[in-house]
């Protein structure tokens, strides 16, 4: 969880950038696609309406030609004496009837030739009870009486001078279109027969079938609002008044086309009124189907998806590349500030991050320089302090020593007094010189011996001092007065309980270090309790030889030679104390 959070923290920039890019790419592609589809839909609708207006005109022309053929046939029949005779004469002998029918057959053949192409049947029915069907089997399938009393005829008789286009279902349920016209005597207006031009709806659909396709349907609506013919079989004979109302309102508004929802589907509607037939040709374009063909949704989605996907991959790679170096830089900087002050950041990536890395490294370097200088100064200051302390000779020491010498002189022990004075002089001489100078171990040995001598003079010789020095160490240099404070300490604190004892000084080389040890077999102390340490530290009220104490030695050694050198103290109560001083081997 926290790992995830860390990752998010470091990649925050990348993630933000990427999300913004993703959102914008998707937004742009969706908007573009949507707009394109919209525009193409509009263009498509316009184009469709233009071409379909032409189609409707074509259908209109076809139907006009058809209507003209019907009118022509009607006129021919009306003018034919044979036909009139056929329809009016009374039945004669079989032979006479046969001739009459045959003659009528000839007339019908002639007339029908103009209508052959339409697959139409012409049936004439005379008032004399005769019927003649040009095809031999009229789709109407009605006897003379049925025909004459049929609403088709009755309606037609109401307007005897007109060709009336009507529609019925045949006895077998086949939708039919019938053009009817009464035949009447010109002078008396007496009707002597009826003509029925019958064609099945299927054949009538041939007028527009070739122009339709799925989603692009034609419906022919009669003036009273019934759908007479349509490519959609289920519409035939149904109520089309709603559609007719749309069409009429469209005509009034003078619009070339109209968008209408029919059966819950968006349709583009075009229409044309055929006054000769009293039919409306209505062209219905199902938007979804028609435009669905135009815009193949799945393939659009796939191609847009692929493009978006590729764009995202590219964006991912590029932004990743851009932010990666930055992220790495940030990661390094944050760990550096926590753990690795001396490390530098690796410089790489884009120009900006490279510069940033360089600047950071520069700053870090300067900071390190500064800190180093600060440490150096501090060291020097401390060194100077210690040196100053080292340079001071405790006046008590001098006083006590000189007082001891005075007693020796008074007692006449001149020999010893002179020896003591010599030792003091030698000691002071050594002190007064440059404190920071190093001296050889052999010189230091002399100093130690002088100091011990003075101490013996002052306090008696109950504490013995022994020296064990490896000969190859004698030439080694070491700072002045490094050993003395420990001997002093052993003298003054090591033997409070015990009355007498020994102090040993040992020097030897160990690898590349000079090891000096001051060991006593005095009281010792418990390292765990503070008492002994207290003794080590609080040397203030003691009569120290110089201002420098045991504690300062360690500090000074480390300041001079580094951390691998210094002082180590071991002590056990009743067994004595062992002080080990590690120094570098310095040979001039």
């Amino acid at each position: 969880m926290s790992k995830l959070f860390d990752r998010f923290k470091y990649n925050g920039l990348f993630i933000k950038m990427f999300i913004i890019m993703v959102v914008s790419i998707i937004a742009v592609s969706v908007t573009t696609t949507w707009t394109t589809i919209n525009v193409s839909e509009r263009v498509f609708t316009e184009t469709f309406s233009i071409t379909n207006t032409k189609v409707i005109n074509q259908i209109n022309n076809n139907l006009d030609t058809f209507n003209y053929s019907i009118a022509l046939a009607t006129n021919k029949l009306a003018q034919s004496g044979t036909a009139r005779e056929f329809m009016t004469e009374a039945d004669g002998s079989s032979l006479a009837n046969f001739r009459s029918f045959y003659a009528m057959g000839d007339v019908m053949k002639r007339i029908n030739s103009g209508l052959d192409a339409y697959g139409i049947d012409i049936t004439v029915a005379g008032i004399n009870g005769r019927i003649f069907a040009s095809s031999g089997q009229s789709p109407l399938a009605m006897t003379h009486d049925e025909l004459m009393q049929h609403p088709l005829t009755l309606r037609s008789l109401e307007s005897p001078r007109r060709i009336l286009y009507q529609h019925i279902n045949s006895k077998h349920g086949v939708p039919l279109l019938v053009a009817t016209r009464p035949l009447s005597d010109r002078t008396t207006d007496k009707v002597y027969g009826m003509i029925f031009f019958t064609m099945t709806e299927k054949e009538f659909a041939g007028f527009y079938n070739t122009y339709t396709s799925e989603g692009n349907e034609v419906a022919v609506i009669s003036g009273n609002g019934t759908i007479v013919s349509s490519g959609r079989k289920e519409w035939i004979g149904t109520d089309g008044r709603e559609l007719l109302a749309y069409v009429k309102s469209m005509e009034e508004a003078g619009k070339p086309y109209m968008n209408v929802a029919i059966q819950n589907r968006e349709h583009i509607v075009l229409s044309r009124y055929l006054s000769s037939l009293d039919y409306y040709i209505v062209n219905l374009i199902d938007k979804k189907t028609a435009i669905g063909q135009l815009t193949d949704m799945p393939s659009i989605i796939i191609s847009v998806g692929v493009i978006v996907g590729v764009a995202l991959i590219i964006v991912f790679l590029i932004s990743r590349r851009l932010t990666r170096s930055l992220t790495r830089l940030v990661k390094q900087i944050s760990t550096i500030s926590k753990y690795e002050f001396h490390h530098k950041v690796s410089v790489g990536g884009s120009y900006e991050t490279r510069e940033l890395g360089l600047a950071f490294n520069g700053m870090l370097e300067e900071l390190q320089d500064y800190v180093a200088k600060l440490v150096q100064t501090e060291k020097q200051r401390r060194n100077a302090e210690l040196e100053a302390l080292q340079g001071q000779i405790n006046p008590h020491f001098l006083y006590n020593t000189l007082a001891s010498v005075k007693f020796m002189v008074q007692h006449g022990d001149r020999e010893r007094a002179a020896e003591t004075i010599n030792a003091l002089i030698s000691l002071l001489q050594n002190m007064i010189g440059n404190v920071s100078e190093t001296i050889t171990l052999s010189q230091e040995l002399v100093n130690m011996k002088n100091y011990v001598l003075i101490n013996h003079v002052r306090y008696g010789e109950r504490i013995k001092m022994n020296y064990f020095i490896a000969p190859d160490c004698l030439g080694c240099h070491l700072p002045k007065l490094i050993i003395q404070p420990f001997i002093e300490n052993a003298f003054f604190h090591g033997f409070n309980a015990k009355a007498e004892g020994h102090i040993y000084f040992m020097a030897s080389k160990e690898a590349d270090a000079l090891i000096c040890e001051v060991v006593d077999n005095g009281d010792g102390f418990d390292m765990k309790t503070d008492q002994g340490a207290e003794n080590l530290k609080s040397s203030g009220k003691r009569q120290l030889f110089t201002g420098i104490g045991v504690r300062n030695v360690h500090e000074r050694v480390q300041l001079l030679y580094g951390e691998s050198y210094g002082v180590e103290i071991n002590s056990h109560p009743g067994e004595g104390t062992r002080v080990k001083i590690r120094l570098p081997i310095i040979k001039e």
Partner: protein, 436 residues
């Protein structure tokens, strides 16, 4: 960096998966096509006209076949006969069989013209049924060079439907009409007209079906035995048929019609007393239920002057043909198993459709023996099948309808007083000119 590689790899794998997925699919299809044929239903398309007769009959066959053959899906498409003829002609003459059905119904009169014009378009089905089980006269029109291409369907066997009540009024019984010539037929008609005032027969000047029936009863046709040239001048049967036709007109016993509905109405309203026609007219006669028991069917009259003439003839009738397209084997099997051998199916055709087949073994079935109450208990189906077996076999040839048109015109001339020999000679000339 790792993440990016992973992404790249993932997208590459996706692309690879897409492409390999496609190829895998096609492979799969290729592999299973063979199996599909076994499992998936084979579609057999049938074209036929007349929803109440042929299509209905085919539907019965489909049902009977579906019981044992769920693997064959028979689709029946109804088209007008003219449309079928037109579409077959356009399809076959263009050489593409695309959009054509597996099985098509063709009228016997036209069958030869199709088979001669498009020799390779039809699939021989000789092996799929036993030709000798079918009425002899059906085999001529449906075969070429001894190979059967059509499976005989309905019988067009003809008889004479007569009004028994009118006959009785004129002093005749049905028994008197069992063995008559056309001359006798006219005499009886005259008597009926005299006593009842009803016409004896209804004819259409533009349809010479009655002439065709007469000449076939004498084993003659408009065309020579090879079916290729017209046989009009010197055709004694045709000459006599013309004379009979004229005699009927002269006897003034003929009602004229030009429309099928009017034709049927003439009988249904009782204004005409007899109909010499094919057995399929039964349904039209029985439509007038008020005339139940007033009708009988008698054998077709003979031509008096022709020794070969028998009491049997044919009008119309059609057969099923298998087109030489994919699925022809299945289609042929289907026909063989149904119309080719299923006796029960033929019983159903009688009871449900009223169609009399030409399959001889079917005559043993019960439906064939059942009396028909409308016809006064006459076993009409059994009678019709008996006559079917007697129909003389003629070759309808390739030009029946072309000659018919000439005959119609020449008949008019004959009735108008032209001599019969001249009429037939003229007709022969025109026919020779037209069909050569």
């Amino acid at each position: 960096m790792k993440k990016m590689m992973a992404l790249l790899l993932a997208s590459m794998m996706l692309l690879a998966a897409c492409s390999s997925g496609n190829s895998g699919k096609t492979d799969g299809n290729g592999g299973t096509t063979g199996g599909d044929k076994g499992n998936e239903a084979t579609k057999v398309t049938v074209w036929a006209w007349d929803a109440n007769f042929n299509v209905k009959a085919m539907n019965l066959a489909k049902e009977a076949y579906a019981k044992d053959h769920s693997d064959v899906n028979v689709e029946i498409v109804e088209n007008a006969q003219n449309d079928i003829v037109q579409r077959l002609n356009t399809g076959l003459s263009s050489g593409t069989t695309k959009g054509l059905p597996n099985i098509v119904l063709i009228e016997d009169y036209r069958a030869q013209s199709f088979m001669q014009a498009y020799p390779d378009a039809f699939y021989p089905i000789t092996k799929n049924f036993k030709a000798s089980d079918f009425a002899e006269y059906k085999l001529g029109p449906t075969s070429v060079n001894g190979e059967n291409y059509g499976l005989p369907f309905d019988s067009g066997v003809a008889g004479v439907y007569v009004r028994t009540d009118y006959l009785e009024q004129a002093g005749y019984k049905v028994e008197d009409l069992q063995d008559i010539t056309w001359n006798d037929y006219i005499e009886i008609g005259k008597k009926v007209k005299e006593t009842t005032g009803k016409d004896w027969i209804s004819l259409d000047p533009n349809d010479m079906g009655i002439i065709r029936m007469m000449i076939q009863s004498a084993g003659s046709w408009y065309l020579t035995a090879d079916g290729k040239s017209a046989d009009l001048a010197g055709n004694v049967a045709l000459k006599e048929a013309f004379e009979v036709y004229k005699n009927m007109m002269d006897a003034n016993i003929v009602k004229i019609h030009s429309d099928w509905s009017q034709y049927v109405a003439n009988y249904n309203n009782g204004s005409v007393a007899s109909v010499p026609t094919g057995n399929w007219f039964t349904a039209s006669i029985t439509a007038a239920e008020d005339q139940k028991g007033k009708w009988a069917i008698v054998p077709f009259p003979k031509l008096a002057g022709n020794a070969k003439s028998v009491h049997a003839s044919n009008l119309g009738g059609s057969s099923w043909y298998v087109l030489n397209v994919d699925g022809k084997e299945k289609a042929a099997e289907f026909l063989g198993a149904t119309f080719g051998s299923n006796v029960d199916l033929y019983q159903k055709l009688i009871t449900d459709v009223g169609a009399i087949g030409t399959y001889k073994p079917a005559a043993e079935g019960e439906a064939y023996k059942a009396p028909n109450e409308f016809f006064g208990g006459q076993n009409i189906v059994s009678d019709f099948s008996k006559w079917t077996a007697e129909i003389p076999n003629v070759n309808y040839g390739m030009h029946t309808y072309a000659v018919e048109d000439i005959i119609v015109v020449e008949m008019q001339n004959y009735l108008n007083g032209k001599s019969i020999d001249q009429v037939l000679t003229d007709a022969q000339k025109q026919a020779d000119a037209q069909i050569k």
